[in-house]
Structure formats: C-alpha cells, structure tokens
C-alpha cells in the first residue's frame, strides 16, 4: 500500500492481467497514460492529458505535490530565502495566472501554494499516487510500457502496470553535481552541496567559501555576506550579474519588450552591457574576473544583491579552486584561504535511474538525452520527457506546452495514425536541436533554451501536427 498523507487516488483496479518479461503479473491499464512525478511539470502533464480525454496515473515519490518547490521534500533544492528569479508573467502556467496581488518575484512558499491550488482547481489529485516511486520503465512492444513502482523507501512489494504512454517529469534539480579536487578527503572543514543548504543559520558566524555562481551560488554568497564571519566566492569565470529591476520594471520584462520588437541579439547584448556599465560599472575594480563571454551566453543570473555586498567588502571574489589542504583551500592564483565551511553550489545533473539511458538516446548514461524540443523521443512515439529545460525564463509555461504537444500527438495516433507516423520522422530529424543562441560550453548549458526561440519552435510543431 502506498503511504499517503494526501487524499490521492486509491489502488488501481487490477484489470486484465498480462505477464511481464520475466513472468511477473502486470495489470493492464489500457489507454491510460503514466506520468512520473507531480512537480510542476508532472502536474501540467496530468492536467493537459486529462483535458485531452486521456486516463492518467501519476506516481509521486513524495507525499505532496510541488516537487522542488516543496522545500520539506528530502530532495528539494530550495532554501528558506528562495524567491523566483523569473518574474510572475514569465513563471506562471499560461492558463492559470498567479494572483495579481502577488509580488513580482514570489517566495517559494507562494509557489508551493500555487501548485497546490492548481492541483485542486483542476482536480488532479485523484490521478496521483503519492509515496510511490517508479523504479523501472521498460518498453514492451506495440509502443507500450511496463512501469514498475513501489512505496518510496523500498518498503512493500513492487507492482507493474502496463501503459499506453509515459511522461517522464522527474525534475533535474535534485541530483547534485559534485566536482572532485585533489586533497578534498583530507580537508578538515565541513563540506556540503547546496542541495543540503536550507537555512542561513547554517552559515552563522562561520568562515564560508561558496563555489559556483549559478543563481544558487549567488543567493548563498549573499546570505553568507550577512550571516557568516567571512565569505569567499569562488568562480571559474566572470559573469554578468543582472539586477532584478531595470528602468523601473522587472528586467526580464524589459528584455522581452526588446524581443517582441525583434531587436537583434547583438543589439540587445550591446544595450545590456551599456545598461550595466552605466549602473554598477566595471566589476573588475572589485576583483571580479571579466566575463569571458557576452551576456546571454551563460544561464542568466538574476541577483541585485551580489554586487552590492561585494561593494561592501562582505563578499571576497576569488578564482577557481586548485586543490584542498587539510586546513586550507588553495586557489588557482596561488592564494590560500581557510574556510570552516565549503558550499558547492555547482549545480545538478539530470538523472533517469529507472530507465535504460539508450531509450532516450543517452548512450553514455550521463543524463544527456537526445530529444526533439527537449521532449519527444526518436523511435519511441509514446514516450516523452517534460521540464528538461534550462530556460532564460520560468519553466512552467514551456512544460505546459510540451504537455499539450504530447497530448495532441497521442490523440493523433488514435484519430489519424498515418499522420502521427509522419510526425515520427519529424521527431527523428529534429533530435538534438538547440533553441538558444551561442552558449558557453558547460555541463549545465546543453539544455539551455531561449524561451522565445523555444516557444516559437514548439508553436510550429503544434501547427504542423494540426495541419498536415
């Protein structure tokens, strides 16, 4: 029995029994679609599939919805002070707006309540089994899938159900990416990944070294500037630290105004550099490295406070780490610093441990699938991944349209199989396509997407599907 603290759905009625690969009993769920995960991407998949008339079974290893945004979830990467980096219109689902009276950049607790309301408003919980983890997904011919689940934590028996299609929405910000350094094992100080950072109390009074300048690293460095006795911030390159507001409006909205006016990238970059120069000025005067790229070529950082605290001297920018010693950390410029706590805010890696990586074209099993629109799987028309995006905006709108596309594709398979088959060729041809301008090569940038480019590509795909 799933341990469920929420009124999720009851056990599945075991319909026609089939047999799996190894003779295990399999309950056949007919035309039902399986969704893995009830975070933002999973919820919108459930909603849109149900709206398109499909039966849906969603499995969620936690006891509630919201995924990363439920900071009590053991794998949630969210910390007490997290606020959105994308402003409201960039973040909300396109058909369920966040309330007008919310701030431009809501707090993570508001995000959680937003997803809970979304689930209730569209009556999604009746499709979800909470406390149930997907441990295996296997193709069984006829484009159908056997999904094996068990209670989270491994208690109780496994059970296998057969589905017409599977949506993988397991999130990509929970499996820490940890760099390796010489001497790290001998280091006497405390070491943690940002995934286990929850609260600024963990920094209080300590000498702290924060590694990485993604949005997580910058947020933690800012908290360390206020709570720790000392804060070094190590980055392996210079970045463009974008403020949350420019010209009296949320910065992303100003940028989209330029996008809507079809201002070319080069001009936007120039304007951006110009704006930063006129406001915070040249950051190398603080000892920050000069960016080795133009703005928009790394995942955007939205943080008005980092530069502010650097200017107060509360954050000391330092270069990359060379190696660790028992009582100090050696930097690439030869300097030594002596932190008591090192926080690796070096990001996360996507992981699909319940599935043979080859199915997704991830032959080396490094969590880098080869998909079209970051969602559709060549040669597996009934399998899709949603939310596997690193957009320069919120993820949720994009995940919504991914779900709509997949739902329409599945519907087309029933109503006009020959058209759906033609579309499969399109998926194969488009696999691996990118939707951003030039980006710096980094483990985090292979799935970076520009939201405007991406949404236009998705829109074209939807039209192609509808029209052919």
């Amino acid at each position: 029995m799933p341990t469920s603290t929420e009124p999720g759905r009851p056990d599945p009625e075991t319909t026609t029994l089939a047999r799996g690969h190894d003779g295990r009993p399999v309950s056949d769920r007919g035309d039902t679609v399986c969704v893995i995960g009830a975070g933002a991407s999973g919820l919108t998949a459930v909603k849109n599939l149900a709206e398109h008339g499909f039966g849906v079974d969603c499995y969620e290893r936690e006891t509630g919805v919201g995924g990363a945004w439920n900071w009590r979830h053991d794998r949630s990467p969210v910390y007490a002070s997290t606020h959105l980096i994308s402003s409201r219109p960039f973040t909300q689902f396109p058909d369920f707006p966040m309330p007008d009276h919310w701030p431009d950049y809501p707090h993570h607790s508001q995000l959680l309540s937003y997803f809970e309301r979304y689930a209730d408003h569209f009556d999604l919980r009746r499709h979800i089994w909470f406390g149930t983890e997907v441990v295996r997904v296997e193709p069984v011919g006829d484009d159908r899938w056997d999904v094996t689940t068990r209670s989270t934590g491994g208690y109780g028996p496994e059970r296998t159900s057969r589905y017409a299609a599977v949506v993988i929405a397991n999130g990509h910000n929970w499996s820490p990416k940890l760099p390796r350094y010489e001497g790290l094992e001998q280091f006497r100080g405390e070491v943690m990944h940002a995934a286990s950072y929850k609260d600024s109390a963990q920094l209080r009074g300590k000498r702290v070294l924060v590694v990485g300048a993604g949005n997580t690293g910058c947020d933690i460095a800012v908290e360390a500037a206020q709570q720790a006795s000392r804060c070094w911030h190590s980055t392996r390159r210079g970045y463009w630290y974008a403020p949350k507001y420019v010209f009296g409006r949320p910065a992303d909205q100003v940028n989209d105004l330029l996008l809507a006016l079809r201002v070319p990238l080069r001009v936007r970059q120039w304007l951006y550099h110009r704006t930063l120069r006129l406001t915070v000025g040249d950051l190398t005067r603080f000892g920050l490295p000069k960016p080795d790229h133009r703005v928009y070529e790394t995942h955007p950082i939205a943080n008005s406070l980092l530069v502010y605290h650097v200017g107060h001297g509360a954050i000391t920018p330092v270069p990359d780490i060379e190696r660790f010693h028992p009582h100090s950390v050696e930097l690439t410029d030869g300097r030594h610093v002596d932190p008591e706590l090192v926080v690796f805010a070096t990001g996360y890696l996507p992981r699909f441990e319940f599935l043979d990586g080859k199915l997704l074209g991830d032959d080396e099993g490094v969590g880098r699938p080869r998909l079209w629109l970051n969602a559709l799987v060549p040669d597996h028309p009934t399998l899709a991944v949603t939310g596997l995006l690193q957009p320069d905006s919120g993820i949720f709108t994009l995940a919504h349209w991914q779900a709509v596309l997949f739902a329409r594709l599945l519907r087309l398979r029933v109503s006009r199989p020959e058209r759906a088959a033609a579309f499969a060729a399109r998926v194969r041809a488009g696999a691996g396509e990118r939707y951003s301008g030039q980006v710096k090569d980094s483990t985090r940038h292979w799935f970076e997407v520009g939201h405007a480019d991406y949404l236009r590509a998705l829109e074209r795909a939807l039209r192609e599907l509808e029209s052919k």
Partner: protein
C-alpha cells in the same frame, strides 16, 4: 508566442467580487458571472447570485475594472477585462463555469482562450462589429452615436428591460449604469475575433428575441460559432438577469449544467 503578454503584463487592479455560496458544498462547479459594459457585479447580485446558491452552486460576480466598485481604469482594453475574468476564475476553488452577459460575453470568449473553463454561457451576447452598432444606433441614436467619439455608451430602459419590470426598479437599475473604457468600446466595434477556446468547453447561448440590443440573428450567429442553437426567452429585455422574469433564464442555465449529456463529470 504571446510576447506582449510577457513584456507588458496587464496592470494589476483591485477588483470587486460579490458572491453567494450554498451552505452545503456539494462539489458542483462554481459559476463566475461577468457583466456587460456599463454594468457591475451588482447586476447579478440583485437576483441571480442568491438563486444560484439556493440551487447548490457557488455564485460569484466580478466587476470589470472601471465598473462597479472595482478600481477605475479609463485605459482598459478588452485584454485587461479578460485578464480580470481569468484572475477571478483562477482564484476559485474549482474549475469555473463562465457566464457573460452582453459585451461581457465577448470578454468571456476572450477569457476562454486563456483559461480552460468548465463550461461557458453567453447571455444576450454582444460580439460587436458594425452590425450591432447599427442596431443600437437605430434604437437609441442619442445614446449610441457619441460612443464612437469616445463618450460613454448609454443604453436606455426600453433597450434593457421589458415593460413588465416595475418602473421604480427600472429607474434604479439604469441609474447605476456606468461606462466602459473608451478603448474597450472601440475594440468592441473593430477588435479582433477571440482566439479559440482552450480545453474544449461546452457553450450555451441564450437571449431574448425581443432584446432591443441584440437582434435574434446575432444570437443565432453567436450560437452557431459554438455549434449550437440559442435558447430563447421571448418577451424579455436585454438585461435578462434584472428583468421581471429573471428566474427563467437562470433556471435554464443551471438545468443545462446539471443535465448536459456531454458533461457527465459535472456532478
């Protein structure tokens, strides 16, 4: 991609929402009523909201910005009005049925492209265009013509109510009429057609053949747009929710919601 909605979000405003909810929550979908131009939530609070609650449905009515007790918004557009509707709909506990009256029906049609309504009801819908304008001009030239030049559209009681409504009531109601924003009025004449609805909601169109604002042909046209025929209530004026026999149309709406075979999940 809806670039402008990202770049220039609609200005947030304070909105008036009146409601009447049943004592016992029966799992029925809530109804959100959207008044036409010049009307506020009060128009539904008079009769319909209470009746809806008495029949076990949650009833909510919003005043579009610049109307009723919502914040003034002289710059409002149809998009801002549709935003108001979607904001309130999304704040309700469950997927809502949108009910729009007059030009409010056009606002609802726009809102349906941004929110997967459970169902929609268009009451005496004014979908705009020059033909509607022509009718209004013929029936009430003095109230209509100035609207083209930006003044408020004025509707008189002969357009809005049947002779059955007591004089005092009719006077009280017309006294409460306000006006829509100039740009929104203009868009009613010239604006683009609403985008297709999301989530495939069933749509009911109803009105009166004796409506002096919306001609019967316009009702048929609106209903055909959604693949149905209009439900007619002869002898009533344009303001079906205020007219003397207000009970009949609202009962028909609720019966449709309960019975409509396409909606077996309505409960």
């Amino acid at each position: 991609m809806r670039s402008w909605e990202w770049a220039r979000p609609v200005r947030p405003v304070r909105r008036e929402v009146l409601s009447a909810v049943p004592e016992l929550e029966e799992g029925r979908p809530p109804l959100l009523f959207v008044p036409g131009f010049g009307h506020g939530a009060w128009a539904y609070a008079e009769n319909w909201l209470g009746h809806v609650a008495a029949r076990g449905f949650g009833g909510y009515a919003v005043s579009l910005r610049g109307h009723g007790a919502s914040e003034p918004a002289p710059e409002a557009t149809l998009r801002a009005y549709a935003h108001d509707v979607v904001q309130v709909a999304a704040s309700l506990p469950r997927r809502a049925v949108l009910v729009g009256h007059g030009a409010g029906a056009l606002v609802v049609a726009h809102a349906m492209a941004r929110y997967p309504a459970r169902a929609a009801v268009l009451v005496a819908p004014v979908f705009g265009g020059w033909a509607t304008f022509g009718t209004a001009l013929r029936r009430n030239p003095l109230g209509t013509l100035p609207a083209v030049f930006g003044a408020g559209l004025r509707l008189n009681r002969r357009q809005l109510f049947s002779g059955e409504l007591p004089d005092a009531d009719a006077r009280r109601y017309t006294g409460r009429l306000g006006r829509a924003a100039r740009r929104a009025q203009w868009q009613l004449l010239t604006g683009a057609d609403p985008e297709p609805a999301v989530g495939d909601p069933p749509v009911l169109v109803l009105g009166s053949p004796d409506d002096r604002v919306v001609p019967a042909a316009a009702l048929t046209r609106a209903a055909r747009r959604y693949g149905s025929a209009p439900l007619l209530f002869p002898g009533m004026g344009h303001d079906l929710m205020l007219d003397a026999r207000w009970r009949e149309p609202i009962d028909a709406i609720l019966d449709w919601l309960v019975k409509d075979p396409a909606r077996d999940d309505l409960g």
